[in-house]
Symmetry: C2
Subunit: 397 residues, 2 copies
């Protein structure tokens, strides 16, 4: 019979999607260029030309049997080697290909990491504000996601609440830095204290608590902000990466899970992932995409637009009196709304063709997210709408 | 803690893989061209040039943001439309894009189909001989795979055993035609009787029994053999397809699930699949691969080599006195071994650099599989080795 769990999920409509659909519909009325659509986190800059060149070169010159042939479910060995080498070079790690599992983007990586270290009934903690897909990602494995309340002053970690919730049932902690939706980068101090806490509690409970680090925005950081490599702080770290944002190719669905070599039994994880894949129907990423990405591992798309946009918005928002933690990276900003009900706030904003997303979706009501992965010219035009919105709705000049 | 279920799976080594690894190792000693490696089902002909041309054209001329941008987790709408149109044109169906869910190959399709119509504890039946990955595919969802014994005379369906095993607990039946490993195509008569049986039992039990039809070899059929389109026979059919074999691009991991439009609630399945994907970390196939495949839907690689190879092997095997059902498609043949212990039989064959795979892996001990997706010239050379093997080991002249 039709599985009820998935059928029932169809009734729950994502609030982000509702605002995004409004933006699309409104765009049909007034021209999409006139809708200040800050709803979705889609990269707005093209893939590096080097990627395109490598793709064309392989299609023209490589034996099609080798290019499109079966690859191991772990990923193509040379690709995994190159990923390891790039991480070692850039972050001073000592990965080998045996620590790298190629995945269909970060979602695939997180799905495997969760199944490696939890079983149904276990708890997984994450920190508000958080990416709402973590709910189904975790809960559909049979484990249970619990949300640690935010540290509103800085969107670092609320250690008091965290330590309280870190019971014996917690087998994994899921973090996301640079963070969607706050744009905040966890500091070295935060990560050091997180590692200390996890180490102490692991000892107390007699089992390791794994750190699953979701890092699709790792390469998007802003001037003056240091983004420490999470895995360096804690051996029991499974790093989940996607090239979607750094290379601007979200549709190509490629990423990986990297196991800290210092983790006990580190060499078990990747072969275990291949077993997990058999049950979930995961297949490693398309071979041609793996091979092409492996040639541009140290490149990124031109990501500077995001910092330009952030500065424009941060300047205007703070000038208008918004409470707002300055983002250290990503293409998100997460200010406090001007009324408690941030859904009402975002609904009012739509009258000004400003599409914002309420913080409720991210476990942080009273705030809202702007995804500023749009053209700078449009950000500039949106500032007048923003001023008009807060003046007419909230009397702020 | 490390999940034991996957850790323990690492101890179980696939017999197919052992024989395949032997072939690779032996190839290093005597040159791989001298190893008659019939162990693995990898396409041996190149992708159609039209696919390569479309890929290069898109990379050169399409806006990279559109080409590599986020796609819906259901698959790209125009691609799903084109897949539906192609199936309608070729098989007289009436699919719309709403019945097509794009997947990472057939494994992804089967993983979604299983989760649509079973819950943990349900039973799923398949028919020996069967593709051994069905074990983990089904059992890791929490449902339980049971194997209906073979109809050895023709490798169609053993209806007596099937009807007996088709209890109230069975929610889905998984078939594979053209079949790996037997090469047999289910006849219209078989499919009619299968549909009748399922309809009767569904009525008796008061719940539908779904048919999950795994069809990666659908396009590889031989002269004089009609391969009926399974879904035409039974409305509760979920067709699982992969382009791996028809287009010779197994590494690119692209396929789909197609829901019979006549199935009650047919329009629910595809959105449900998107929910399933959230939990499994499945992402739809790479966007560029979706877009390229959509342009060559009615093409195939040059598949004639498989029929040439089949005829050579079938002729020789029957001349040597093997019991052997003539394949109607695929690139497999599944003869009876010359002794009861087909593992011993295949081990003896390795002395002659013939790499065969014992039928035990496919739920059919006493038989063996040859995957003849290799160059015809190599098949021809292998015949002398085959003759020497059966003469020296079994005294057959």
């Amino acid at each position: 019979m039709i599985a009820q769990v998935y059928k029932e999920m169809l009734n729950a409509k994502s609030v982000i999607r509702q605002f995004s659909e409004f933006a699309t519909a409104r765009g049909k009325e007034i021209g999409y260029e006139n809708v200040f659509d800050y709803s979705l986190g889609n990269p707005s800059v093209p893939v590096p030309q080097a990627f395109t060149d490598v793709m064309i070169d392989m299609l023209q010159n490589k034996n099609p049997m080798a290019l499109h042939g079966y690859s191991q479910s772990l990923g193509i060995p040379e690709v995994r080697e190159k990923v390891a080498a790039s991480l070692n070079r850039r972050f001073g790690m000592n990965y080998t290909s045996g620590h790298i599992f190629m995945t269909s983007g970060a979602a695939g990586a997180i799905a495997h990491a969760l199944r490696c270290v939890t079983v149904p009934g276990d708890e997984v903690l994450t920190f508000a504000p958080y990416f709402p897909e973590y709910g189904p990602y975790v809960n559909l494995t049979g484990a249970k996601l619990k949300i640690v309340p935010p540290s509103l002053a800085d969107f670092q970690i609320n250690f008091e609440a965290f330590t309280e919730m870190l019971t014996d049932k917690v087998m994994a902690v899921l973090i996301n830095t640079p963070n969607n939706p706050s744009g905040i980068v966890y500091s070295a101090e935060t990560l050091t204290r997180l590692a200390q806490t996890l180490t102490e509690k692991s000892e107390e409970y007699g089992h390791p608590i794994y750190l699953i680090s979701d890092e699709p925005y790792r390469e998007i950081t802003f001037a003056g902000v240091e983004a420490p490599y999470v895995s360096k702080f804690y051996p029991y770290t499974l790093s989940c990466y996607s090239f979607s944002k750094s290379l601007s190719l979200p549709g190509e669905r490629i990423g990986y899970m990297a196991v800290n070599p210092a983790c006990p039994d580190a060499e078990l994880f990747v072969p275990m992932c291949a077993q997990i894949s058999r049950g979930t129907g995961h297949n490693c990423p398309a071979s041609i995409i793996q091979l092409a990405v492996a040639e541009v591992l140290d490149e990124t798309a031109d990501l500077t637009v995001y910092e330009t946009n952030m500065n424009l918005l941060y300047h205007e928002l703070t000038a208008l009196g918004f409470t707002c933690v300055k983002p250290g990276g990503t293409f998100y900003i997460f200010p406090k709304a001007l009324e408690e009900d941030s859904v009402a706030f975002c609904q009012k904003a739509t009258k000004y063709d400003l599409i914002l997303v309420p913080g409720n979706s991210f476990g942080c009501p009273g705030y809202f997210r702007m995804a500023y992965c749009i053209d700078t010219e449009k950000v500039e035009r949106s500032l007048a709408a923003l001023r008009r919105f807060v003046r007419e709705e909230y009397g702020i000049q």
